[in-house]
């Protein structure tokens, strides 16, 4: 898989436009699809959305006609790519089913990145938020059963366990405690940079999705749960984006975005089992190579920098892979479920002083009930038990074991 994207021309950007009929792709079948094809679709949609948002922000910093036109051109292509990728989601897949897919992405992407993260501090950051997203999957799975009688494992197909993580109601921190120190751009491992950019895009997409879908529902429990978890995703975007070094220039960031997209599409292509969708990943990889050339050319011409100065000689030979991480998640749960944050530090909850702002936020926000707890109570009442998919045995944390079952 390892190759140097700078040596690949890809498809020239001017040749990348597609007609409406080409953009209007056939969606996958929600019951036949490999769950990890669904997660790849969700991730790459988020990656394209991030690319588009970044490009718009960059365009607002300049009035240079040629640069703005180049950004407009590559951004329009990004928009077409996003339409194709997001169009793979079928209309019959409800927003709640898509949400379960989003949380399966959050669990298995974050866990995979953490397992392969060379920098110990960045690994801690990934592990920390992993347990929170892991809990969200369990909460939404219970909402799914409560509202529709559906079993989330029909979507996740037992590849990802569904049980409590760090309980959502304890995740509500003071905003000051979501900000982390950042990596140093010269010394960061290129793989780490791409890990952080990828998780920022993924979490941002999840935040945006929940921000916009909370109002889809009539049921107050669903509206409340989406709003509550959307606020945690806001915390996660704050948490992850603060890991990025603000020293990098706009042009460097543009190059990094395109480079990361090449890496991710080639990763998705390598593991995709659906031949039709694999061809889309391959096409988009070649398109990203063409877009990378435009960004690199702009960097050379305007900033006087050779992209090879700051990029690795080849993309990592380890493709980002969706695969089960059950044992890893259980280990992280056992080791860190009680962690909270105090400023930029991670600390066990019993080391926080009683007057810490964390407890004040907890009291204020959870006053009057917490949707993420209410959904479990309501589903337990409706079904006589809560919904879990514990494949590897009982929950590793005694306090989080299913008391109704035992």
């Amino acid at each position: 898989m390892a190759f140097n994207p700078l040596e690949e021309a890809g498809i020239p950007v001017e040749d990348q436009f597609r007609s409406w009929s080409e953009l209007n792709v056939d969606p996958y079948d929600k019951w036949d699809v490999d769950p990890y094809t669904r997660t790849r679709v969700i991730l790459m949609n988020g990656i394209e959305v991030e690319s588009i948002i970044f490009s718009h922000q960059f365009a607002r910093q300049t009035d240079d006609l040629e640069l703005k036109q180049r950004l407009a051109l590559t951004r329009r292509i990004d928009q077409q790519q996003q339409k194709v990728v997001n169009g793979l989601n079928p209309g019959e897949q409800t927003p709640l089913e898509t949400t379960i897919g989003y949380e399966q992405v959050a669990v298995d992407l974050t866990a995979w990145l953490a397992r392969h993260e060379p920098d110990p501090q960045l690994k801690v950051a990934l592990d920390f938020a992993l347990l929170e997203d892991f809990d969200h999957l369990y909460r939404y799975a219970n909402l799914y059963e409560l509202l529709h009688g559906g079993k989330a494992d029909a979507l996740t197909q037992h590849l990802t366990e569904i049980m409590p993580g760090r309980p959502t109601f304890v995740e509500h921190r003071h905003p000051y405690d979501d900000v982390r120190p950042h990596f140093e751009t010269h010394t960061v491992d290129p793989l780490s940079r791409m890990h952080v950019m990828t998780i920022v895009a993924g979490e941002q997409q999840t935040m945006n999705f929940y921000m916009n879908h909370a109002s889809d529902w009539i049921e107050p429990i669903a509206r409340g749960l989406y709003s509550e978890i959307a606020m945690i995703e806001e915390q996660h975007v704050t948490h992850y984006e603060s890991l990025l070094d603000p020293l990098d220039s706009w042009l460097a960031n543009w190059v990094f975005h395109e480079y990361n997209e090449v890496y991710l599409y080639s990763s998705m292509m390598e593991q995709e089992t659906d031949r039709r969708i694999k061809a889309i990943w391959e096409l988009h990889c070649n398109m990203e190579l063409g877009q990378l050339q435009v960004a690199c050319d702009s960097m050379r011409r305007l900033e006087g920098r050779e992209p090879a100065e700051l990029l690795p000689p080849s993309i990592p030979d380890t493709p980002v892979t969706f695969e089960p991480n059950k044992e890893y998640v259980r280990q992280v749960l056992e080791a860190t479920v009680d962690l909270r944050t105090d400023g930029t530090e991670y600390v066990p909850v019993d080391e926080l002083p009683g007057d810490h702002r964390y407890f004040a936020m907890q009291k204020l926000l959870n006053d009057g009930g917490t949707p993420s707890e209410m959904v479990i109570d309501q589903n337990r009442e409706a079904q006589g038990r809560e919904y879990r998919d514990e494949i590897e045995g009982d929950h590793p944390i005694a306090e989080l074991q299913d008391t109704a079952r035992s």
Binding site: P181, E184, P190, S249, R301, G304
Partner: protein
């Protein structure tokens, strides 16, 4: 070969800051130069950071010269930017050699170097981000002013190092003085040229009656730019 952008591949190290996290394997030890400075009473870690800062400025200067060399429409400026850019890249190599000779790490990026890199990036960005606000003639001045500002700091950097040299113990004094000696004349020339040429461009425009650039046909404007300084 000089490193223009330190990375993990080139062996970059950095210092931890209040909000800067560095992988423990890449943290620069804060005691560099202590042995070399000896009992001179000088601040070794500060001097290590200062040299890293100077190096960051030379590296940013190399990028600036590459950028303006590729975009100027004036052949005199183009030729001089290319020439000074080559010399600036030599200054990067000179500083890297000096730091290594003093027992330091040329791949170390100090906190001051990070700040300097940010201002260097801003200087280059000032020459193109508002490209749509300026006409071709004004753009030439903007690029030249960026060079002038960069050279002013560059000159001050080497002048400062020259003042520091006599205070250093013998083992450090000679290589520092030699590096300053090697570069100082060129830095004098860079700054003098940038100041003088900027003045010339300003006076040329002030003393040459012509329609405003905004209403001048592009071909005519380019011709005016190409003939300036001829």
């Amino acid at each position: 070969m000089a490193t223009l952008t330190p990375t993990t591949a080139s062996g970059a190290t950095a210092a931890v800051g209040p909000m800067v996290y560095v992988d423990p394997a890449r943290v620069h030890p804060p005691t560099t130069f202590e042995e070399l400075i000896g009992d001179s009473g000088l601040n070794g870690p500060f001097i290590a950071d200062l040299l890293s800062d100077m190096l960051a400025h030379e590296r940013a200067g190399s990028h600036l010269y590459r950028s303006v060399h590729g975009r100027t429409l004036n052949p005199v400026l183009e030729s001089q930017y290319e020439h000074f850019g080559e010399e600036t890249q030599e200054h990067v190599a000179t500083l890297e050699d000096l730091i290594a000779t003093l027992g330091g790490d040329p791949q170390y990026v100090s906190a001051a170097a990070r700040a300097t890199e940010k201002s260097g990036t801003g200087l280059v960005e000032s020459t193109y981000l508002l490209g749509g606000s300026v006409d071709a003639l004004t753009r030439e001045l903007v690029m030249l002013e960026a060079v002038f500002l960069a050279e002013a700091k560059d000159h001050a950097n080497w002048e400062g190092l020259g003042q520091l040299a006599p205070l250093l113990p013998d083992a450090a004094r000679d290589p520092v003085a030699a590096a300053v000696e090697k570069v100082k004349t060129q830095e004098d020339e860079h700054l003098t040229w940038a100041r003088k040429t900027r003045g010339q461009l300003v006076m040329l425009q002030a003393e040459t009656p012509a329609p405003p650039p905004a209403i001048t046909p592009p071909d005519e404007l380019i011709e005016r730019i190409q003939q300036m300084l001829a």
